[in-house]
Structure formats: C-alpha cells, structure tokens
C-alpha cells in the first residue's frame, strides 16, 4: 500500500514536471512562421511616454523589411544595468538594446555585444564625432565601435529669477564663466544666507571636463582628474557649502532629488536638462514662471549624455538586428524621436534640421536652439571606462569632502586611485 503511495507521488511529481515543462514551452517564442526572423528590441523606461513613437517606428521598419518582425520590450530605468548583466550572464540578451556607453564598454569587454564597425563599416560618418568616440573601444579583440549612438540629453543652466531678484542680483547679466558662476554664489551668500541656496548639485565626472580638468590621459589608460584643476573645482564646492549656498540635503541628494530641490523653490540655479522644462511646467508652475535659461557653464565644450543601441553577439539574427539598430538611429528617425522627447539626435546632420533653429520666442524653443548649437562640438565627457562603481565612489568622496570630513585633494586621490585599480583589473 505504501509502495503504491510512493508510486503515486512519483507519478504526481512527473506530471508536475511535465506541466511546468509545457508551461515554459507555451511561454517561449511564439513565432510560428519559420520564414520570419523575430528580433527583440529593448528600451530603457520609454514606453510609458513614447509608446506611439515606437509602435509607429516598428511598423515602418517591418513594412520596409518584410520577413523581419520586431518585438519591443521596455524595461524600468531602475535596475536596468542589473537586468542587462543577468541577461548577459545567461546569454539571453535581447537582439537590440538601449544602454549607456558605460554598459556597452563592459559588455564589449566580455564579448557580449557585436562590433558595429565590422558589421557596418561605413556608418561612422552618420554620427557626430563626439558621440562616435564614446562607443569606440580598444583592446577587446577588434578595435572599433560597439554600439550605435542614439539620443543625447543635455541642458542649459536654469536660474530662478525670483530668488536672484530678492537677493539683489542682476537677472540681465547671468554668469557666463566658471569664475563668474562661483563669484555669484559668493555674492548671494552675503544677502541671502540661510534663506536660499545657490546650487543643489555636486559636480559629476562630466563637470570636471566642462571645467577644463583632464579626466583621463590621452591613451585612456589612467584617470587624472585629481590634478590641481580638478581639486580647484571641488574646492569651489567646498567653499559654496561653507558659505551656506549648498544645503546638506543637496549634498546628500541623488540625481532626481536635486531636481526636486530646485522645484521646491529654494535653490537659485540648476544645471539641468532640456526635459526639465516640461517637468517644471507640469509640477512646479511657480518656478516655471520665474525661470531664466542660460547656456551651460563650460570652457568651450559641453558634456553630452548619450544613450546607445548595441547588438547582442549571441543574436540569432545579427544582420536583421544591425539593420534595425541602424534604422532606429538613422537621421530621420532620430530627429523624429528628438522632436517628441526633448532629447537631441546624435547624427551628424541631426541638428541641421530646421526644427532645431526655429526660435518662436517661447522658452522651450529658445532653449532648444541654444542647446542644439552645442551638439556638434560637444563631447561625451563621462568616459565609458569610468564604470558605475567609480561613479558611486566619486559621489561618496565628494560628499565627504564638501561637508568637510576630508580635504578635496584626499577625496579625489581616493576616487582616482580606486578607479585606476578597477581599470587595471
């Protein structure tokens, strides 16, 4: 009797295993038509707002390329790199995926993404020099680009005119250099200390480039931003904090929180992004009403943030995947996307589009034209070799330096040393 019970149990287990097996078969690829190649296309947190654009884009591609079907997946921005890494470890990357140049660097290093220069030798001239450089890596087998440059985000410096006026500053003469920028902060401390702050954001790695400090040596073998120039930049922020022109809350804030602080109306400036305008208009109408927009403070070259598209080296339909990635990032489609998303195209001819020159007097179009002019000689200053751990550590070191726990020099020395150690690994 007990034997039969055990037999039954084994049978039940077997049935369960079969069911689970069937379930997994049922849930896997449903493309019945074997003639078609279906490629998957993964974007980062774009579906909720740009659904129509992508559905239209895919329909257009499928019409032009009968036999290729595109399955679009959108992933949340949080944990996106984690998702890429688990998929890469499992050899399950989507055929075409959206990522930052940093992610492309790591994936190219481990051979998970395909060389673009080899697959599409002539495509380089399509994109601006600065963005192409950010996806071109050496020493991973074949030198060359490993991703297609896609949309760029960048922004102006925003000023809250109400605060400037209240603190006796001239809103007609906004800072146009790093020197006048930090001088203005110091001036404001004299009149408005304790009431308002000047800025809510610490420098990022790109800021060092915009300040004119060399981030990496020419061979890209060592980080060098702990130079006197880099220390000088950090010291300005230390002084700003001492002046009471940056709050403790701001020092601790992460990216999106720094926007919130500006929106709450106690911070005078923000070096932000084009898409902030929409956010201000929607969520902080008071701020929007008092907004002044001025060019980003740089020493000639603005730092650009790039999103790029990479093709999985494990893709079963590499040709189709490259074709689609090139299609999404071609001039027409990038310009279309830019028009609906407050981002900028990374194509060489992208910002020549009349859309980027038409100033109809609104704050939006004025900002757009101002920023578009900076694309061509802009650079992706954040080096792809400066990985997420390096970014996190730089942020933590800067926080400790600004609140006075360590010196600016110590903070940068630690950040550079650890980043160089990781680079050598």
């Amino acid at each position: 009797m007990n034997t039969t019970r055990i037999t039954k149990l084994i049978a039940a287990c077997g049935a369960l295993a079969m069911m689970t097996g069937l379930a997994s078969c049922g849930s896997s690829d449903k493309s019945a038509d074997k003639e078609n190649s279906t490629i998957s296309f993964q974007t980062k947190n774009l579906e909720s707002v740009y659904k129509d654009y992508f559905n239209g884009l895919i329909a257009k591609f499928e019409k032009q390329n009968p036999g290729i079907k595109v399955k679009w997946i959108d992933q949340p921005g949080d944990g996106y790199a984690n998702k890429l890494s688990t998929d890469a470890a499992a050899n399950q990357l989507p055929d075409v995926m959206d990522m930052m140049p940093k992610d492309a660097y790591i994936l190219a290093k481990s051979g998970a993404i395909d060389n673009v220069s080899k697959a599409n030798p002539d495509i380089e001239k399509e994109y601006t020099k600065g963005t192409w450089k950010s996806v071109t890596f050496k020493g991973f087998g074949d030198d060359g680009a490993y991703a297609y440059p896609w949309y760029l985000t960048l922004g102006p410096t925003f000023y809250n005119k109400k605060i400037l006026t209240e603190c006796g500053m001239d809103t007609a003469k906004l800072p146009d250099s790093w020197e006048s920028y930090f001088e203005a902060s110091h001036q404001m401390a004299a009149t408005c200390k304790g009431k308002y702050q000047w800025s809510a954001a610490l420098p990022t790695i790109g800021t060092f480039g915009e300040y004119g400090a060399e981030i990496m040596n020419k061979d890209q073998t060592k980080f060098t931003f702990n130079s006197p120039k880099g220390v000088e930049l950090v010291q300005h922020y230390v002084d700003m904090y001492k002046d009471g022109m940056m709050s403790k809350e701001a020092v601790a804030a992460s990216g999106s929180q720094t926007t919130d602080l500006f929106k709450q109306g106690s911070v005078a400036t923000r070096s932000g992004f084009m898409y902030d305008l929409k956010d201000f208009k929607q969520n902080a109408p008071e701020i929007y009403k008092n907004l002044a927009v001025a060019p980003a403070i740089t020493r000639g070259h603005q730092s650009l943030n790039a999103e790029v598209l990479a093709v999985s080296s494990q893709s079963k339909h590499k040709d189709a995947a490259h074709k689609f990635a090139a299609f999404v990032t071609n001039n027409t489609n990038q310009v279309d996307f830019a028009k609906s998303s407050q981002t900028f195209p990374s194509t060489a001819k992208g910002v020549d589009d009349p859309y980027f020159r038409k100033d109809d007097g609104s704050l939006e179009s004025k900002t757009l034209v101002m920023l578009a002019a900076n694309i061509k000689n802009g650079e992706v200053m954040d080096p792809p070799q400066f990985i997420q751990s390096d970014l996190d550590e730089l942020g933590e070191q800067l926080q400790q330096a600004v609140i006075g726990q360590i010196s600016a020099k110590q903070a940068l020395d630690t950040a550079v040393k650890d980043a160089n150690d990781r680079l050598a690994q």
Binding site: N2, R5, I6, L9, D78, A81, N82, L84, S85, T86, A88, A89, K102, D103, I106, L107, K109, S110, A112, S247, K248, E249, V251, A252, A253, S254, S256, Q257, D260, L261, Q264, I387, Q388, S389, D392, E393, G395, E396, Q397, Q399, Q400, I403, Q405, R422
Partner: protein, 323 residues
C-alpha cells in the same frame, strides 16, 4: 499564589518545555513509532526538502564555491584561495556596513520584542472598536516595503510632511535632515522598519496571548496586581517562547536590513556612502554589469557566519534563562 500560576502558565505555552517534561514519564515516543511507518515523516518532508535543496542549498553551495574564485558575473574566474576574504576584511566599506548592520540589529531587536507585545495587549479585547484598531495597525505591514519606502521618503524629506508639521508648529526653524545625516538616516530607517514591523509581530503575539488562560489574569487581579504588574508577571512569562522567537527573527531581519535604507537613500549608501548595510554592499558588489561575484560571495559567507553567531548567542541565552 500568583507565582505558582505563572509556572503553570509557562509550562503550558512553552511546547519544548512541556514535551521535555512529559515525554519520559509517558513514554510517548516509543508508542508513536509503533503506529508509524519509518518513512512516513519523510513523505511529509519530501516536497519541502526538494524545494529547499533546489532553491536554497544548491545556490548557497554555489556561493561558497564562488567565494574562492575571482569570478565576475560575465567571466568564470580562477581559484584564488582566501584572497577574496582578505580583500573583504580589509575594505573600509565593509567595516562601515558591519557597524551599521550591527547597530540596526542591536536597536531593533528590543523594540520589536517589546513594542508589538504592548500593542497586542492593547488591542487584545473582543470589542468592535478594538478589532478595528487591530486591523488598522496591521495595515502598514500589508503595505510592503516598495510602497512604504516611497511613502516615507515623501514624509521625511526636507519639505516632507514631518518637517512641514514641525515647522508649522514652530518647533523647529530649519528642516531636520532625516535623510542626509548619517545617524539620522539610520534612525529614520529604523522608524520605517518599526512602522512596517509592529503589526507583523503584533499578530504573532496575539496568537501567543490567545494561549494564556484568562484565569491567570483573574488570579493576578485578585492578588491586587495592576495592569503593569499583570503585564510583567502574567503576559511576559506567558509569551516567553514567542518573545525568544521574535528576538531571533527581528535581530536577523535587522542585521539583513536592505529595503528601508535602500529606499530612504534612493539606492545610494547615504551621505558619503556611510549608511551602507551588509545586504546593500552584497547587492552592490554582486549585481550589475560590473558585479564581482567572487568578492560578493565572500562577503555573503562572512555575513552568514555573523548571523550564525547571533543565533547561537540567542539560543545560548535562552538555554541559560531556562535553567
């Protein structure tokens, strides 16, 4: 008289105690075996054991293996002996994380043992209004950490509700930097843990309270014991086993704290990375594109041993108390 009643209550609601005392006299063990096939217990246990093997033991053994290699997530590493362990122990971030997790466990354990018990005693009445409160107090536990993290980040931010109320009442002039200061943030995260945990542990205590005979309270009452005295001399001894259980569960959970600190710091380690906890460090080192799986595995094994030590200490203390 109340003392005698206590001992009786203690014996009834502490199963281990009970079993130890009665088994030798009644010879229960031998009789059970006589009516049970030797493999019967294993039929009960086969499914749980399979699940545990596949989804916990195997990955855990894999973690041990990885801790002796220099693997990254995208690269199978080579055997490197104990060098990952020495790297972990030399890392100043690990020291910070160990400190934070230890403080968290030390502060949380007493709170979670005492506060939910008081809460349970407060609402342990069969009236409509008390059943309403009981339900309401459990709601934060139901909300879950993703949602409570969002809620409390809103509440504790410089312009959030908590600071707005304090400033509105003119108690403070400057917002309290709950989410910026290293220690305040840890303290705020503890409040969120308590917020979500009170109801959870309250329910475990309610189950234990139901086992305490009302006559014990009546006896204590006749002896002239007030509510506080009753709590100390009847409720606490009656819930002793549950208190030990909760001490163990809450201190382990607190040492492993992740969600609350993660949500309040917005995924970073707080100001200067000084609020990082052990789980956050494991997460940071072990996931993502640049994951160092070997290093993270060594870190996990070290954490595993620390949790083992916490557990042993608590078992030791309990056994001492029993004798």
């Amino acid at each position: 008289m109340s003392l005698a009643a206590n001992q009786k209550a203690g014996a009834r609601v502490t199963p281990a105690h009970d079993a130890d005392q009665h088994q030798p006299q009644k010879g229960k063990g031998s009789r059970s075996i006589s009516t049970m096939k030797p493999w019967s217990p294993w039929l009960f246990l086969i499914i749980p054991i399979i699940f545990t093997l596949v989804f916990t033991i195997y990955p855990f053994l894999n973690t041990i293996r990885l801790s002796f290699t220099n693997s990254t997530l995208l690269r199978t590493g080579k055997f490197v002996g104990l060098s990952q362990y020495s790297a972990v122990l030399a890392d100043t971030k690990v020291h910070t994380a160990l400190l934070n997790s230890t403080i968290y466990a030390l502060c949380m354990a007493p709170c979670m043992v005492i506060l939910p018990l008081i809460l349970a005693v407060l609402v342990n009445k069969k009236t409509k209004i008390m059943s309403f409160f009981r339900t309401a107090f459990y709601v934060p536990a139901v909300a879950g950490s993703v949602i409570s993290g969002l809620i409390w980040t809103n509440m504790m931010s410089a312009k959030g509700l908590v600071n707005a109320i304090f400033m509105g009442l003119k108690w403070i002039k400057e917002p309290i930097p709950f989410l910026q200061d290293r220690w305040l943030l840890l303290f705020s995260a503890m409040l969120v843990t308590i917020w979500g945990g009170l109801g959870y542990y309250m329910v475990i205590y309610l189950a234990a309270l139901a086992n305490i005979d009302d006559s014990l309270y009546e006896a204590a009452s006749i002896d002239g014991a007030g509510p506080v005295r009753q709590f100390i001399s009847v409720t606490m001894p009656g819930c002793r086993m549950t208190m030990v259980l909760i001490l163990l569960l809450s201190s382990i959970a607190a040492f492993r704290v992740f969600n609350e600190v993660y949500m309040l710091t917005g995924g970073t380690g707080g100001m200067g990375g000084k609020d990082v906890t052990m789980s956050m460090l494991i997460m940071r080192e072990g996931t993502g594109l640049t994951a160092r799986t070997g290093y993270a595995s060594a870190l996990s094994i070290i954490m595993f041993f620390i949790l083992g030590i916490i557990t042993s200490i608590e078992f030791y203390v309990q056994r001492k108390a029993d004798n």
